[in-house]
Structure formats: C-alpha cells, structure tokens
Amino acid sequence: MIDQIFGVWNYWIVFILMMIGLYIVISKKSLLKKIVGLAIFQTSVFLLYITFGKIAGGTAPILTKNIDEIYSNPLPHVLILTAIVVGVATTALGLALTVRINKAYGTINEDEISASDLVEYHKKYLEDNK
C-alpha cells in the first residue's frame, strides 16, 4: 500500500513543479522571474528522468568487485548531465538579453516594454504622414 502511494508520489510532485514553472512563465511580468520559472521547469524535468533510472535496492552506477550488484540505470544520468550544462548556457543567454533590454528600455516589465514600443510606433506613423 505504502509502496503504491510513494511509487507515484514523485511523479505527482514533479508534474506539479512543472506546472508551477509554467505558471510563473505565463503570468509574471518581470523577465527575470520568467527565467527563474524556466529554471524550475527544467529542474523538475531532470528529476523526472532521474526517477525513471532508479532501481530500489540498487547502488550508484560505479562498478564494484561484486558481480551480482544491482546498479541504477546510468543512461538517464548521462542525458541529464548534458542537459544541466546546456540549461546554464540558456540561462546565461536569457540574462544577457534581459540586461540588454533593461539598457534599451529602462525596464524589464513586459507591459511597460510593449507600451513604449507602441508609443514609438505611433510617433513614427505621425512623422511619416505629415
């Protein structure tokens, strides 16, 4: 019974974490907060993969003298190692874009950025039609 509950508990929490990340990306106006939301989503996906690779009673996949030892699956670990490093690269790129946007617009709030874009557009429109 308790095995049944905890057998899916990890999956449930991982799915809820994913949706918290998605909610932050959709609803928050600050660009920095959106990047944090992406990071949360990413880590929950890593957790899902590592959960797939777990074998109860197994050990970490480092070979021992004992031939009959059960090892957890090493393949998801390798995939996630690559994904973690690529994730940091995307975070760095997103932060650089945010800093650049802040320099150009003076704000990182989504609404204010589109408002000042609209103002620019109308100014240009009026100048063209003089």
């Binding site: 999956y11 998605l22 920095l32 959960t51 690779g53 390798v78 190692l81 973690i84 690269a89 650049r100």
Partner: protein, 189 residues
C-alpha cells in the same frame, strides 16, 4: 528501504514548498537565493536517487554558477518587481496549468511504479553499457564511460552549444563593456 522512501518524499515535498514561495516573492534577491536553495535540494534528491554524478553537477553548476550569473545580472537590473493586482489573466493561467497538471497526473497511472527492476527503461541498453564499461573500456564509473565514449558526439554537441552561447552573451553585452570603460577613462581625466 522504507527510510529511503520517506527521505525521498520529504525532499521532493520541500522542493514543492520552495517553488510555491518563489511564486509570490517580489524582492529579486530572495527569488534568486530561493532558486539556489531549490537547486541544492534537487541535488540532495539526486543523491538519494543514486545519481551521484548528476548531483555534484547540479550542486556546482545549477546551484553555484547559475546563482552567480543571476546575482551578476541583478547588479544591472531593478531590485524589486512592480506590484501587480490579481486579474483575469492570472485566472486563465491558473486554469491552464491546473488542467495540464490534472491530465499529467491522470496519465501517471499508466507509468510504471518507481524503482521496479522490471520497468521497461531497464530492459535494453543499460546492461550492455555496464558490461561494456567493465570489459571494453575499463573505467569503473559507468556514467563517465558512456559520457566520453558511447555518447561522445553528444558531449561534443554540448560543448558547441556552450561555445555558441558564450559568443552570443559577449556580443549582446559588448555595449555594456565599452560603456564601463568610458566611465573608467572619465575618472582618469
């Protein structure tokens, strides 16, 4: 065995709590520090799930370097988010996320239970990699032998991605660099 399960459930619930706190913080510095804590707890979680290599990469890269990058960006950005009233767009977002979460949890009943030896993921490649690492490559750490040998092209691609991202960041921030140097020159006069 039962202790392992309880530790697992505790850590994953702790991650959930931290994520819920991240939603509502408005001070950027506390958002960043909470994100670092979240990564660190995730690293603990990876240790309890037998993924030691992933755990130390997450602790050093996810919790360390990411936090430093966020703090460095913070020095150019506003310290606090604008306050925002709860409006109809938030309700749409909550509805979308709840529906997707419901569907995913419903689908999770078709997933195999965590930690069973008979799960499909353990049936095919893993045994070959472990045997090959013992007999052909001769490195005791199976993750290293897969990363550097069996899936070496993956790792090469990852390096290319990081190189590209580094160049892109330099190009984007070039203006900032020249600006600081101008300030520096001004001080020298």
């Amino acid at each position: 065995m039962i202790g392992e399960i309880i530790i697992n459930a505790f850590l994953v619930t702790l991650m959930l709590t931290i994520a819920i706190f991240i939603i509502n913080t408005r001070k950027v510095i506390s958002t960043i520090l909470l994100t670092g804590t979240y990564s660190l707890v995730a690293a603990l979680m990876f240790v309890s799930l037998d993924a030691v290599d992933v755990a130390f990469t997450e602790a050093s890269v996810g919790a360390g370097i990411s936090t430093i990058l966020f703090l460095a960006a913070l020095s150019y950005l506003p310290r606090e988010e604008k306050e925002e009233k709860f409006n109809v767009k938030h309700i749409y977002a909550i509805c979308t996320c709840t529906i997707i979460a419901g569907l995913l949890i419903w689908a999770s009943y078709d997933l195999p239970l965590v930690g069973q030896l008979e799960n499909p993921v353990h049936q095919n490649l893993a045994q070959d990699f472990i045997e090959g690492s013992r007999n052909h490559i001769g490195i005791p750490n199976v993750v290293t032998s897969i990363l550097a040998s069996y899936r070496g092209y993956d790792t090469f691609g990852e390096t290319v991605v990081i190189y590209t991202a580094g160049i892109a960041v330099l190009v984007l921030l070039y203006d900032g660099v020249s600006k600081t140097s101008k300030i520096y020159k001004g001080k020298n006069k």
